[in-house]
């Protein structure tokens, strides 16, 4: 007997046939779309705004460290730092490091998600990814008051 779900997942064939509508449902109508392959494999299509909401409470806490010739900014959530001759150069270097880390993490997700010192980084990886796609990486990394909500993140982007 088929299992009953609150929302019946779409099969892959149906998703393929209606991909444009399915995408609009998720992104414009903000409706999560469960997708199934066979009886056991389940995924979910979510709009960027909804993912942003899920990680709304996730925040970053960069620390500025003065050096004799310039300064560094340490980002404890990813254990990385940016370095430069002044604050702006250090921030720019750190943003590059964040993008590098997010890219490496997602490219090797199988390894990173099982690494004991890296698996907990996943919510921050998603937070940084959504912010970067929305054009807000800088304000998300450097605003540790975490005041920016998902709507503002998306509203500031040109993705809608």
């Amino acid at each position: 007997m088929d299992q009953e779900y609150a929302v019946k997942p779409l099969g892959l064939t149906e998703v393929r046939d209606r991909i444009s509508n399915v995408f609009s449902e998720a992104v414009h109508k903000h409706r999560p779309i469960p997708i199934a392959r066979g009886n056991r494999e389940l995924g979910m299509l979510l709009g960027l705004e909804e993912i942003g909401r899920l990680v709304e409470s996730v925040s970053f806490h960069p620390e500025v460290l003065k050096e004799e010739r310039g300064l560094s900014i340490w980002l404890p959530e990813f254990q990385i730092y940016g370095r430069g001759k002044d604050l702006w150069a250090s921030r720019a270097d750190l943003l590059e490091e964040v993008r590098e880390y997010v890219s490496e993490y997602l490219e090797e997700i199988d390894t990173y998600r099982s690494a004991p010192n890296r698996r907990a980084h996943f919510p921050h990886i998603i937070k940084a990814l959504v912010a970067d796609l929305s054009g807000n990486l800088e304000s998300v990394i450097f605003d540790n008051r975490a005041q920016m909500g998902a709507r503002e993140v998306i509203a500031a982007s040109d993705l809608r």
Partner: protein
Amino acid sequence: MPHPTFDDRRRFCEIDGWSKKESARGKTGDHDRYRKELVDGTILRTKASHSKEQIGNPSLWRHIWRDQLGLESEDEFWTALKTGKPVQREPEAPRGTPEWLIQQLLHTLGMTEAEALALTPDEAVARWEKYITSPRESGP
């Protein structure tokens, strides 16, 4: 203790058997990226410039040797540079199975205590994940 230079860190990575890593985004810069995976799956990563410039902030240096290089003490860094030998890292003590998971195996999956305790932590997690991702029979 002397202040380390970025070049010292690059030499440390070479001595300690770290792998040089290309940028995931294909970028080239004025530093090399290094990575090391420990036996328990821990991933260490750092970057090192070709520079004689010193790491001038003690807090940054502490973050680097402790969080990025995965060392127990700063001494381990200097000893490796002095001797040319890699750091002897103690393997992490094996983790136990979380108590909540044992409870789920007993009360939700119906295993006996002996069966649940005979599983390694990874086996216990695998059994639980298999259970929660399997379609279940609907009731009568």
